[in-house]
């Protein structure tokens, strides 16, 4: 019998589920291996009987925790997909602010109508078995993770920084170009896709397991950068990981 899979989304842009749709013909191949029983974005049918749950988005409200716990109960394997779900992502930028002020900024005097708490990754609420990092996720990496899970293997996720991939790609270092980059401490696996396109690593895959902070400090000193430069960029995606909640 084919494993039953379901997709769920919380606070996020649904860009990761879009990457699943973007698999195009490969999606049809995948559908030969699994049975999709719930995917609100593309299908009307829904079932609570599933083996693997893919979850996109951050948890940003107490009321959403019950839904997450129910998914955990129903699923044998829970996979967090995309930065918002794996590390809190860009949503955690607001964790650096007073949440009442944040609500007032957007909703004015009606702020009280809109519940919220510090944005957090899925594993801050329930146990997560596997991660597909990135903002958005990489389609090939998603397929790799799914294949591993179907074979009962642990997905192979890099434990070294983006810098390693970037050097292999022979990019000119962003620091040498006078820009600030967090590729030194960000988990690899994206093939340094943003630097390849002429920009910087923004950190969307989250901090690598054992970031080499000393070497990062050396880079700051070498290029005359300040701690403020570093903190500014760290806040973009590392808010939850850095413990600002």
């Amino acid at each position: 019998m084919k494993p039953k899979v379901a997709f769920f989304d919380f606070a996020g842009c649904e860009g990761d589920q879009l990457q699943v749709a973007n698999l195009e013909e490969e999606l049809l191949t995948l559908l030969g291996q699994v049975e999709v029983v719930s995917f609100r974005e593309v299908m009307k049918e829904h079932s609570d009987n599933y083996d693997i749950a893919f979850i996109e988005g951050s948890c940003t409200r107490l009321q959403d925790e019950d839904r997450l716990k129910q998914i955990r109960k129903n699923a044998k394997i829970v996979v967090a997909i995309g930065s918002c779900a794996t590390i809190g992502g860009i949503n955690s930028l607001r964790n650096y602010k007073e949440l009442d002020e944040v609500r007032r900024t957007v909703y004015g005097e009606n702020a009280k109508l809109f519940d919220t708490y510090a944005a957090r990754p899925i594993d801050a609420v329930i146990t997560v078995d596997a991660y597909v990092h990135g903002c958005p996720i990489d389609r090939d990496e998603f397929l790799q993770v799914v294949k591993s899970l179907l074979l009962g293997k642990r997905p192979d996720i890099p434990t070294y920084p983006v810098c390693v991939e970037c050097k292999k790609n022979e990019n000119v270092c962003a620091f040498e170009r006078g820009q600030y980059c967090v590729g030194t401490v960000t988990r690899a696996g994206c093939n340094s896709c943003c630097v390849n396109q002429g920009t910087i690593c923004w950190g969307c895959r989250g901090l690598v397991d054992n970031p080499n902070e000393n070497s990062h400090k050396e880079v700051l000193i070498k290029f005359g950068l300040t701690v403020d430069d570093a903190i500014g960029k760290f806040k973009l995606y590392f808010g939850w990981q850095e413990g600002k909640r």
Binding site: E24, V42, G108
Partner: protein
């Protein structure tokens, strides 16, 4: 049979981007409740960008929406560039227009092929169509892949673009890559003709329903306005973009985490149908032919025809992309350095950027201090501008459906919501019908 009592509760409408609910309650033939709710978790972008640098705003606000991330990036860049008096080259302008066409194609094909087609063929999703209608599904996938490849080529990624930066591009495609893209666009035309024929054969499934409303879109004397133009309304004519707040008038309703909007009536509509109604004359020749196939001409007040307007726009985007690439080739593509970073003089100011994205007109409005730090931001999202119109359409449609079964009523209401192609993550997130 007349339906005296109807109880509809579509909690989280499916096949739309985000979470939205429909509630309908009819007692003894009288509609007691008919509501469109948006319970999506709010994300507070306008607060998150305050305190951030000008060079990051487009990266952050792109994350408002995965489907229209290119449009959000462009609206964001235009707001920042307007605030700091930054101009871009004619070549970059054409490339940005290509980026927008790429997104329009990607989004419209996804909507028509994956989200709308299942309703017209009487199934719950595109998945069973893969075996029942394999040729049609393959055609849709082929078009969608072409659109994704286009976005990838121009923007460096299909979703959350990288190459689009303040002042221009960090990297641009080569002329050879652009010529290859042109070939793909030309090859897409027969596929589009097949899709148009398919929809034509199913067009009778789209309800014949009209409710007069106001349409708002960008307009330009030079082209079918997408990247730039003046604000235009079918009720009040043209207005400069900087005065957008007098059009959008956002307000908060307790049942939705998304804001709602109104102009001179109780609601207005934005999106492909609004653009077509306002800028029909500027459509490309083949696009006009497709509009004529469906008898679609301005001013059309049937919201279900927004689907067909999207189909017309897909054809327009393909033809206009070929024209833009021809112009880039004829002018001679100017090379630029690797890791290009335009020299920008940071200054204080406020700027408004308006762009037509797949679901309608999008505004980003930023204020920066002298250090280029954002001190205030406002984003007005197309779907928010449509919420009130969706609910008023529902209120007008339900009484006309009471001779149908509850299931049929529910399907018509879901189809209505889907016709707007709502993007609820954008508006915060949204759709679902609740007959309570």
């Amino acid at each position: 049979m007349k339906n005296d009592n109807v109880d509809i509760d579509v909690h989280h409408v499916t096949r739309v981007e985000g979470h939205g609910n429909i509630y309908v309650n009819v007692k003894k033939g009288i509609v007691e409740r008919c509501e469109w709710n948006v319970p999506e978790a709010p994300r507070f972008f306008e607060a998150m960008v305050v305190g951030r640098q000008w060079s990051e705003l487009h990266h952050i606000t792109s994350r408002i929406c995965g489907i229209c991330s290119i449009g959000h990036t462009l609206a964001s860049l235009k707001a920042t560039e307007s605030a700091m008096g930054i101009s871009i080259s004619e070549q970059d302008l054409k490339l940005r227009k290509l980026a927008l066409h790429g997104e329009n194609l990607q989004s419209h094909v996804l909507h028509l092929g994956f989200l709308v087609l299942p309703d017209l063929l009487g199934v719950g999703s595109v998945i069973p169509l893969a075996s029942s209608n394999p040729e049609e599904v393959k055609t849709v996938f082929r078009l969608h892949r072409t659109a994704n490849e286009m976005s990838n080529l121009i923007c460096g990624r299909t979703t959350h673009p990288q190459r689009l930066i303040p002042g221009g591009f960090s990297k641009i495609p080569s002329i050879k890559e652009l010529k290859d893209l042109r070939k793909k666009m030309q090859d897409a035309i027969p596929d589009l003709q097949a899709v148009a024929k398919l929809f034509k054969s199913l067009a009778s499934k789209l309800p014949d329903f009209t409710r007069e409303t106001e349409f708002i879109a960008l307009t330009s004397p030079d082209e079918y306005a997408l990247y730039d133009g003046q604000l235009a309304s079918t009720d009040t004519g043209k207005t400069p973009v900087n005065e957008y707040l007098s059009f959008t008038n956002e307000y908060i309703v307790p049942t939705s985490t998304a804001k709602w909007a109104k102009h001179v009536r109780d609601s207005y509509m934005v999106g492909a149908l609004a653009r077509l109604n306002i800028n029909y004359d500027k459509l490309s020749p083949l696009a006009k032919q497709v509009a004529e196939m469906f008898g679609l001409k301005p001013v059309c007040h049937n919201p279900f025809m927004n689907n067909i307007a999207q189909l017309v726009e897909v054809v327009h985007s393909v033809e206009d992309s070929i024209r833009l690439i021809n112009e880039l080739e004829n002018a001679g593509l100017q090379p630029q350095p690797d890791y290009n970073k335009p020299d920008i003089k940071v200054k204080a100011g406020r700027g408004v950027g308006a762009v037509e994205v797949p679901r309608g007109i999008l505004f980003h409005d930023y204020t920066y201090n002298a250090k280029g730090i954002c001190t205030k931001a406002n984003c007005v999202i197309p779907t928010n501008q449509n919420h009130a119109n969706i609910e008023l359409d529902m209120k007008a449609l339900v009484p006309k459906l009471l001779d149908k079964t509850q299931k049929e009523i529910e399907l018509s209401l879901e189809m209505l919501v889907r016709a707007y192609d709502p993007c609820i993550s954008c508006s915060t997130h949204y759709v679902k019908v609740n007959f309570v």
